[in-house]
């Protein structure tokens, strides 16, 4: 780690001087309280706090056992605990319902479910503001839900209905919601990372050039992606530029150990992904992605760091998906004992146990949350089922923000002025 922090300090200093921080409005105080930041700024080769911040708690990768003790569960209030519990249960119940609906033919194409990884989405996104951005992958339903997109809008999108959050034009792998700053689910490996980095660039630009930031500091972007993506060049390109320009972004690796049927250990020369953060001069953190409170603790620091303008953080969440890669995946390569190992560590069960043991809520209170979520998801299905299919007129809408982009027809008029255009029957 000594080498990593030295590298960071060496390269950060000139960048900080160039990035116009003096001209920009001041960010909230407390910047220097960050252990990451302090370590990076001092370039201290033996700063003890850095080791603490890198809350390594892997139980799969060898050699990290010593760091287990470093991560202790932080306290959460009753309200916070119940919010986390509700969001995680929503993610789980929603996805289980998706599987049912997929097998009943209500949704189609590729459907990738999030079961097992809820602690990551909830642990990060519940700390974000409305103005903060989330960029996701093809496994994006639960990120959308955590960010506040109504379950009925997500379900209707999955049903391909006009009431969906993208009016049925996006689908399972492409959830967008501008009011929630959900900037998309991206279906290609690595594709979302540069887009997220660009959103973070825009936040910094708005702060420094347009002087438009809010009083809380920079808007933060959280980019979610998997272990398989970390072998893709765009990941490395963006770690470099995000740190070079100190962009307000958190790179969150949901390491579920499997890229479809390719084991992470069989695909990656050094499977400890978090180590790639220090290699680019940013903190790299490994966290138990099956423990929402640990995720939340790491997320809080990384998000605050980004908001203060101190740059990106790479967080590797070790998690597991309880289902196949997609609903079409026979899931034959993962060993039963591996599955049962992680099933026993179900993050929702663990949080429930914690809440009851810490007397934050009673079992019946949690039951009533579960009942409420069941009702919400049932209602989402009824809403989606009863919603109309997109009308034909939608076919030609939204290809361009300016429909004159369809050009001029042989009659000399803009094609979008053809009445058949709004009916969706024009030849284009």
């Amino acid at each position: 780690m000594a080498a990593a922090s030295f590298t960071a300090a060496k390269f950060l200093a000139p960048v900080a001087a160039r990035s116009g921080g003096e001209r920009a409005p001041p960010l909230p105080a407390g910047a220097s309280s960050s252990s990451f930041a302090r370590t990076l700024r001092r370039g201290g080769a033996h700063h003890p706090r850095l080791r603490t911040a890198l809350a390594v708690s892997s139980d799969v990768l060898a050699g990290n056992k010593a760091a287990h003790a470093a991560a202790s569960n932080p306290a959460v209030t009753r309200e916070e605990a119940l919010e986390l519990y509700e969001d995680m249960v929503l993610g789980r119940v929603f996805e289980d319902m998706c599987a049912q609906m997929y097998y009943r033919g209500k949704m189609f194409g590729f459907v990738h479910l999030y079961n097992g990884q809820e602690a990551v989405s909830t642990g990060f996104i519940k700390l974000l503001n409305q103005a903060d951005c989330v960029v996701s992958t093809y496994r994006d339903h639960v990120h959308a839900l955590s960010k506040g997109v109504p379950p009925r809008s997500v379900m209707a999108e999955l049903f391909g209905k006009a009431t969906g959050c993208c009016r049925g034009q996006g689908g399972s792998m492409h959830m967008f919601s501008a009011p929630h700053n959900l900037l998309g689910g991206f279906a290609f490996i690595g594709e979302g990372i540069p887009v997220a980095t660009g959103a973070a660039f825009a936040a910094k630009y708005r702060h420094e050039v347009l002087k438009e930031s809010g009083p809380d500091g920079l808007d933060v972007t959280v980019a979610f992606f998997g272990d398989g993506t970390c072998n893709n060049g765009q990941f490395f390109e963006c770690l470099n530029m995000a740190q070079l320009w100190k962009l307000p972004i958190v790179f969150v690796v949901e390491n579920n150990l499997w890229a479809i049927g390719m084991s992470h250990l069989r695909a990656t020369s050094d499977p400890e992904i978090w180590k790639k953060g220090p290699a680019f001069g940013m903190p790299g953190v490994h966290v138990d992605g099956m423990d929402v409170l640990k995720v939340r603790e790491v997320a809080k620091e990384a998000i605050e760091r980004a908001r203060r303008g101190e740059g990106p953080t790479l967080v590797e969440c070790e998690t597991y998906r309880f289902r196949g890669h997609s609903l079409a995946d026979p899931d034959e390569l993962r060993k039963p004992d591996e599955k049962s190992h992680y099933a026993a560590r179900d993050s929702i069960t663990a949080l429930k146990k914690y809440i009851i043991e810490e007397n934050l809520a009673t079992e019946s209170e949690l039951k009533s949350i579960e009942k409420k979520i069941d009702d919400i998801v049932e209602e989402a299905v009824e809403f989606a089922d009863a919603s109309p299919h997109p009308p034909r007129s939608q076919l030609l809408e939204n290809v361009f923000a300016d429909p004159k982009g369809f050009g001029i027809g042989p009659d000399g008029k803009y094609r979008c002025e053809d009445p058949k255009f709004t009916q969706g029957t024009a030849q284009v």
């Binding site: 998309g184 660039f201 050039v209």
Partner: protein
């Protein structure tokens, strides 16, 4: 740095050679009447960037060597000094990364201009251009528009071999959600670039390095900061009655030279500068063909599934009964660009090729040896 140095070696000295190789501009062939001043394409692009960045603080320029180096082809000269490193952003050599960053910034309220040192390098970023930029407004049902310009030199350069020498007009024109512009003159370059930057959708802006140093007459109107050329409108560069020649980018100049040669042989050619490949001005093309009854399409790119094929189809659909001769297509040879100068010349359309095709369309005898 090795990568940057390598590319500079590829593009820097080449630029000088190219400029020396350029033929004197055939200014007489251009029908500008109220010309008050000359401007080269490089200055036209530079002034358009400058004015639009000045008008809208959400516009910024990013790419390799756009800042301190002043642009690999000096298109962004002076902009770093004027707008600073926050708005004229030198990126590492990472096309996929920085193109995606541009797209993400456009999603989130800015108006980026992404410069590709040449469009050949856009192949490394084509996923972001097509999947992230062109499709997002549709996938998000209009919630996420992507006001971004991807610009840089395109088309056959000189002596740089297959990977650095090809035209991407047809590639990008295939994609719904993109607009593809191909300026020829200084007027085109200024007016279309300003329109592209103001446009709410992703625009592919294909320049040509061999035209950067070429000067064109410009009117006072063109020099006005409010000047814009509408996207999707072609320009009749030269009126004629016997045959229509469509062309874009550098080939417009060749088509004008061909028209000059043809006029000496009694053939009056109408030259259409397409300006916009997508949307394509089908109205202007068909109106011209209905007048001349003959059509020659000219493009630098590969022939198969190209711009000429699309234009031909439009004419077959709309004006078939007006055609008095088969449509002639002049395109680049269907081969990767060769390096040797003689082979390279054979691989891209020449003025003579256009002249011969126009004569064929007019049923004038063409020597057998010249039809190969």
């Amino acid at each position: 740095m090795l990568g940057a140095a390598r590319r500079q070696l590829g593009s820097g000295p080449m630029l000088g050679q190219v400029l020396r190789r350029l033929r004197p501009a055939a200014a007489a062939a251009r029908g500008y009447s109220a010309a008050v001043k000359e401007m080269n394409v490089r200055d036209a692009l530079n002034s358009a960037l400058d004015e639009e960045m000045s008008a809208d603080p959400s516009v910024f320029l990013m790419g390799e060597e756009v800042g301190e180096y002043q642009g690999a082809y000096k298109i962004s000269k002076g902009l770093l000094d004027k707008y600073g490193p926050d708005r004229v952003l030198d990126t590492p050599i990472t096309e996929a990364g920085f193109t995606g960053i541009g797209v993400g910034a456009a999603y989130h309220g800015l108006r980026p201009i992404v410069e590709f040192m040449t469009f050949n390098f856009s192949m490394q970023a084509i996923d972001h251009i097509i999947n992230s930029a062109a499709k997002s407004n549709y996938m998000s049902a209009g919630q996420i528009s992507v006001p971004i310009v991807f610009r840089g030199p395109n088309g056959a350069a000189a002596g740089v071999g297959a990977q650095h020498s090809q035209c991407y007009a047809a590639w990008y024109a295939h994609v719904p959600g993109l607009k593809v512009l191909t300026p020829y003159s200084a007027e085109d370059a200024r007016g279309l670039l300003k329109a592209a930057i103001r446009d709410p959708d992703p625009v592919i802006f294909l320049e040509n390095e061999l035209l950067y140093g070429e000067s064109f007459p410009v009117s006072a109107e063109v020099l006005d900061s409010s000047f814009c050329v509408p996207i999707g409108k072609a320009k009749i560069e030269r009126e004629g009655k016997d045959v229509t020649i469509t062309a874009y980018s550098k080939m417009v100049g060749y088509a004008l030279q061909a028209a000059e040669v043809l006029s000496k042989e009694g053939i009056s050619a109408e030259v259409i500068n397409l300006r916009s490949i997508r949307p394509l001005d089908r109205d202007a093309i068909n109106a011209s063909v209905r007048k001349t009854n003959r059509l020659v399409t000219v493009e630098e790119g590969f022939p198969q599934h190209g711009i000429g094929a699309e234009i031909c189809m439009s004419v077959v659909e709309e004006s078939f009964e007006y055609l008095d001769a088969p449509v002639e297509r002049i395109a680049g040879a269907d081969v990767p660009m060769p390096y040797a100068a003689n082979l390279e010349r054979m691989a891209v359309p020449q003025v003579d090729d256009i002249v011969r095709a126009a004569k064929r369309a007019c049923y004038r005898a063409v020597p057998v040896a010249a039809t190969a």
